[in-house]
């Protein structure tokens, strides 16, 4: 469940795709971290992620949780963006047969989930195929 505060806190990542680039080793953490996973650095600068990348893996979820009922079945994948950042997202506007490891995708702003008819509407990024 996404309460307002919990949802709101992640807005920079979900709306603007902001990561944190380590000032000592250059690795981009997404979401931002306090301690750099690759070098232990503690100083970061805010960066916008690359908007394109390639699928590392994918699946089609045929039995989805209720928050995704209207979208089921839906494709999900892990992609590595051009800046090396890896993330999980739904893959929108895709014909399931065209899913392939290595497939180029870009980030698009979509409604990710619904907290029921009366709850907040949760937005964020999804992958869409680059055609």
């Amino acid at each position: 469940m996404s309460t307002s505060a919990r949802y709101w806190r992640e807005i920079p990542q979900r709306y603007r795709y902001e990561g944190a680039k380590c000032k000592s080793c250059g690795k981009i953490s997404f979401p931002p971290r306090v301690v750099c996973k690759s070098c232990g650095g503690r100083e970061f600068e805010k960066v916008e992620l690359a908007k394109q990348g390639k699928l590392l893996t994918h699946t089609v979820i045929r039995v989805g949780p209720s928050q995704f009922a209207d979208q089921t079945p839906y494709a999900v994948g892990v992609a590595e963006l051009d800046d090396g950042v890896r993330m999980t997202a739904m893959i929108a506007d895709v014909d399931f047969e065209e899913l392939k490891v290595g497939m180029p995708v870009k980030l698009e702003f979509r409604k990710v989930r619904d907290e029921g008819e009366a709850g907040i509407i949760c937005y964020g990024y999804k992958f869409v195929p680059v055609r």
């Binding site: 994918h58 999980t88 964020g124």
Partner: protein, 385 residues
């Protein structure tokens, strides 16, 4: 550290236990373990449970279960590492006995999963993944393992038939286990043609939703013969490692880093290598999970685990029998109880009490229990004295 031995085991038949509550199923299994060991007391207790709060709305299990077991006021602690909770509870018990703090300790596990609907169970299980960056974006557990499968297939040419063979093998074993939830045999065709859950995994590639509990009693090895008539089974290694909680953060999506690490540490602790292991109970929550686990544990080369079941190498009587109990797939997967049930199976095998599924001449067995997509992994090696 003192040497530690397993001296008692207890579990009842698993399944959809509509008439029994969480406390009922735990107490039954715990009493069975106490009876099997033949001890008249326990000094302390650990309970592995992933999510009683979400499944039945009950936290504070240590107190509840010690009370209903009639063992209060002993110290009792619930342990949680998602689906590896049972293995972690056992490790805590081993540490407590090994350290000399207590002599007779019960390690149990329990999960009551059917009191909540399917959607609730999916939600509860998904809390083992990254809530904000995986689950938020629609991922389910079958979905995450399906993505591991796609990555493994893409990198190594593993096939859906090979994955199905894992399920077929585990069901063949489970059919010989009186405690198994689904003790029936399967065919590759049936697995492949069952309903798709998350491509390429069908429902018969997935472990079920199960109510169940399991418990074991451990004590110092040198006290075992005074406490029990059972053959003591010595704990040769007890290790635990972690990996990123999010699958996408891993260098290689088809590789279980925490399993490899916990495995390496276990072999070093026991002074053994993979070829010394006579049987292994591994965490086959999905067919692909068994394939990845047996690679990470060194039974198969990286990328070569896919053909393991198809070739018969992991069958009872094969080179390295894996999941003689039926595994999570056939025996059932009451999440927090699974790690303890693995210890029970290996103990029974090493005692020579595994009946129709007995691995002949088994002297050393391994258990591998993991949480999430492998974010936590607990490995144990047990040996017959």
């Amino acid at each position: 550290m003192r040497d530690v031995a397993v001296i008692g085991v207890g579990m009842m038949k698993w399944g959809e236990l509509w008439e029994k509550s969480l406390r009922d199923i735990f107490v039954e299994s715990a009493l069975e373990a106490v009876k099997d060991a033949g001890v008249d007391r326990i000094d302390s207790m650990y309970v592995g449970c992933m999510s009683s709060g979400l499944f039945v709305g009950q936290e504070h299990l240590g107190s509840l279960l010690a009370d209903y077991l009639g063992m209060g006021p002993i110290p009792a602690l619930r342990v949680e590492t998602a689906c590896a909770a049972g293995g972690a509870a056992f490790k805590q018990a081993v540490m407590e006995v090994g350290s000399g703090m207590s002599d007779i300790v019960l390690a149990g596990g329990v999960e009551k999963m059917t009191d909540i609907g399917g959607d609730g169970a999916t939600f509860a299980l998904a809390t083992a993944a990254d809530a904000e960056y995986e689950v938020y974006n629609g991922v389910t557990f079958p979905g995450l393992y399906a993505m591991m499968a796609v990555a493994h297939m893409d990198a190594y040419g593993t096939t859906r038939e090979q994955l199905a063979a894992v399920s077929v093998k585990n069901h063949a074993n489970g059919a010989k286990n009186p405690h198994a939830q689904y003790p029936f045999e399967l065919t590759v065709d049936r697995v492949l043609n069952s309903v798709m859950i998350a491509d390429p995994l069908t429902i018969l590639d997935c472990s079920p939703i199960t109510d169940g509990a399991a418990a074991v009693i451990v004590c110092p090895l040198d006290m075992a013969k005074d406490l029990t008539k059972n053959k003591p089974i010595k704990v040769l290694a007890s290790t635990h490692a972690t990996d990123t909680i999010a699958l996408h953060s891993r260098e290689d999506i088809a590789w279980l880093g925490a399993v490899a690490k916990a495995g390496e540490l276990a072999y070093a602790q026991a002074g053994l290598s993979p070829s010394d292991i006579d049987l292994a109970e591994v965490h086959d929550c999905f067919t692909i999970a068994e394939v990845c686990a047996i690679e990470a544990l060194g039974f198969f080369e990286r990328g070569k685990g896919g053909a393991s079941a198809e070739s018969g190498e992991t069958a009872i009587g094969g080179r390295i029998p894996v999941n003689a109990s039926g595994g999570l797939k056939s025996k059932g997967h009451p999440v927090g109880a699974t790690g303890i049930a693995q210890i029970i199976e290996v103990t029974k095998q090493l005692r020579g009490e595994a009946d129709k599924r007995q691995v002949e001449g088994a002297r050393i067995g391994m258990t591998q229990n993991m949480g999430g997509t492998g974010g936590s992994c607990v490995v144990h090696i047990l040996g017959a004295e």
